[in-house]
């Protein structure tokens, strides 16, 4: 049932470029897809460990800058008269480095804040994003500051024997984003269904009890932060090589808020939630553009979010899933053992 739905959704998404010829809409879908990956990574923390990262865009932006700088090269002065010179590398290396460095940042932020958690984690992540934004803005020699990094090369896939396939067209980038999103989705799905995911859920629901059965709080939460940050970094790298220009505005707080809205409306703690919420709020601007000024659009987003949470308080996906289950149960009375077996199969 669940597998059939997933295959159907993937097939639908993969077929989009076949019938959608409008380049503007395709472009919106690509950027939305990139933000959906960011929202999925945020959901790993917010939905599965209960920790709200209000600076999540920092990991996204770090991924974007790392990837851009790796592929553009740089030449910066360091204290003591040294110079750090880096010749351009292929963007695909930048993509990998973006994942690694964003993950490392997640590790340090996690290590710092998970000793105390909750509100402290929120504050540490907000501050972290702001500090990174200021660095990007003021270290002009490295980042060009507000002048932005321009002419970032498109990502290329190394094909053994053939050479390199540079992904320049929207069509190519659409499939690239789709594939990365699928990998991120599968990775998060596997993770939260494994015993690591159960440790995360246990900590979220009843920390004292979780600790008493041997779950290591700091280790579990830091692991979630690393993987979440690494996925956000991958999304950032895709963004940099697709848009091909980035400036410190990428670290704006509003971008984090957008991701949080995507997660909350779609349903935190559900795998498909950020995808559904992300598609709605990513494509809403496209739908509203002909009828509303950008300022009025923000008000409309607020209205839509409130409407969604009013009707489906736990977010779209979990609320609908619950209704579906309720309408189905009562018609079949399975023996407990059979129930256990189906549950096992559903999870596998």
């Amino acid at each position: 049932m669940r597998i059939a739905l997933t295959i159907l959704a993937v097939a639908a998404l993969a077929s989009v470029p076949l019938w959608l010829r409008d380049p503007y809409l395709l472009n919106s879908l690509i950027t939305t897809g990139i933000f959906v990956i960011g929202a999925m990574s945020l959901n790993l923390l917010l939905g599965f460990t209960g920790q709200l990262s209000l600076g999540h865009i920092a990991f996204f932006g770090i991924g974007a800058y790392v990837s851009a700088l790796t592929s553009l090269g740089f030449d910066v002065g360091l204290p003591g008269g040294f110079r750090l010179v880096h010749a351009p590398w292929p963007p695909i290396v930048g993509f990998v480095l973006a994942i690694i460095i964003a993950g490392l940042c997640g590790y340090f932020v996690g290590l710092l804040s998970f000793r105390v958690r909750g509100a402290y984690f929120v504050i540490v992540t907000i501050s972290f994003a702001e500090v990174v934004r200021l660095v990007a803005l003021n270290w002009v020699e490295l980042t060009q500051g507000p002048l932005a990094l321009t002419n970032i090369p498109s990502i290329g896939l190394p094909l053994p024997g053939v050479g390199e396939l540079t992904l320049r067209t929207k069509l190519q980038n659409y499939y690239l984003v789709l594939v990365v999103a699928l990998i991120a989705y599968l990775l998060i799905a596997r993770l939260v269904r494994s015993h690591f995911g159960r440790a995360m859920r246990g900590l979220m629901e009843n920390e004292t009890l979780a600790v008493s059965v041997g779950i290591d709080v700091t280790k579990t939460l830091t692991l979630a932060a690393v993987i979440s940050a690494a996925i956000a970094g991958a999304a950032g790298s895709l963004y940099a090589h697709y848009i091909r220009i980035i400036d410190p505005e990428v670290f704006a707080f509003i971008n984090t808020v957008t991701m949080v809205i995507m997660v909350i409306s779609g349903g935190k703690g559900s795998l498909a939630g950020p995808v559904v919420g992300g598609l709605i709020f990513g494509l809403l601007p496209v739908a509203l553009r002909p009828v509303m000024a950008p300022e009025a659009q923000w008000i409309a987003y607020g209205g839509v979010l409130i409407a969604i949470l009013f009707v489906l308080p736990r977010g779209i996906v979990p609320s609908l899933a619950q209704r579906f289950r309720r309408s189905r149960s009562g018609t079949t009375a399975l023996a407990p053992v059979a129930l256990a077996e189906t549950a096992v199969k559903e999870r596998a």
Binding site: S194, H195, R198, V211, V213, L339
Partner: protein, 260 residues
């Protein structure tokens, strides 16, 4: 006392919260495979003693040793790794998960696989998952909650949640189990069934330390009883000794009863 080997030693433990003395100079031992009860009036320091033994609270003085390992300074999850597992006085389940998933979370210590194996779904991780599921079903059957296996633990009755709590503790494969008022809020038949469970746990070779107010239950199940009052141990011995100890009677019923 019999000459069995000692599992846990509590030596001169004291806990002070500012000026309040919760425990002053508590020393006793628990033998391997023994069922020992810690009793005393409300506020005597029983739960505080539990918190010290399981690393949720650092004692102001003294030390706790479990199977030759000093517990001072260890974190709760590290103590759990030594096989010392506790239950809690209040509701102690993961309320939004099903009973079955509760036990899978509880089986954390058995399910450790490498991250990459879990993500890639390698055979090792799969085999481990199968084993956990099997074990979770066994534990549910053992506490008799098969019919509730796929209900959210938070929707269960109080007594049923207690059973889940014990199954959870057992899922962590303890070598010693600390039960904090496990039968409070249970009716007579539930309590009776619980006593059977405790004996069953002991027969699996697990040492048990019990904090409980239900005196008939304590007297039935315990090998030995330690009585606390105002943070001090006022008596220690077999149920028969404790039942007739004047200090204990006084602590529970006051002076008049002791003279009567």
């Amino acid at each position: 006392m019999t000459a069995r080997s000692v599992a846990m030693t509590i030596e001169q433990v004291a806990v002070r919260f500012g000026g309040l003395v919760a425990i002053s100079d508590m020393s006793f031992t628990v033998g391997e495979g023994e069922i020992v009860s810690l009793i005393g009036p409300n506020g005597a320091g029983k739960t505080t003693a539990f918190n010290v033994m399981t690393g949720f609270l650092e004692p102001s003085a003294g030390r706790v040793t479990y199977r030759d390992t000093a517990l001072n300074g260890l974190k709760p999850h590290q103590i759990a790794d030594l096989g010392l597992i506790r239950t809690f006085q209040r509701t102690s389940v993961f309320p939004n998960d099903t009973v079955y998933d509760n036990l899978l979370i509880g089986l954390h210590r058995q399910g450790r696989v490498r991250l990459l194996d879990a993500i890639l779904g390698l055979p090792g991780a799969r085999a481990s998952e199968r084993k956990l599921r099997q074990r979770a079903s066994e534990l549910i059957e053992w506490v008799g909650l098969e019919r509730r296996a796929h209900d959210a633990a938070g929707s269960l009755s109080y007594g049923e949640q207690r059973l889940v709590g014990v199954a959870l503790a057992l899922a962590a494969e303890p070598s010693m189990l600390l039960l904090d008022e496990p039968v409070s809020g249970m009716n007579a038949s539930e309590t009776h069934r619980f006593v059977e469970l405790i004996r069953d746990i002991r027969d699996r070779g697990i040492t048990i330390l019990l904090v409980e107010h239900d005196m008939p239950m304590v007297m039935t199940v315990s090998d030995r009883i330690v009585v606390l009052n105002y943070g001090r141990i006022i008596a220690e011995g077999t149920p028969d000794v404790i039942r007739n100890d004047p200090a204990v009677i006084e602590a529970y019923l006051g002076h008049g009863a002791a003279r009567a």
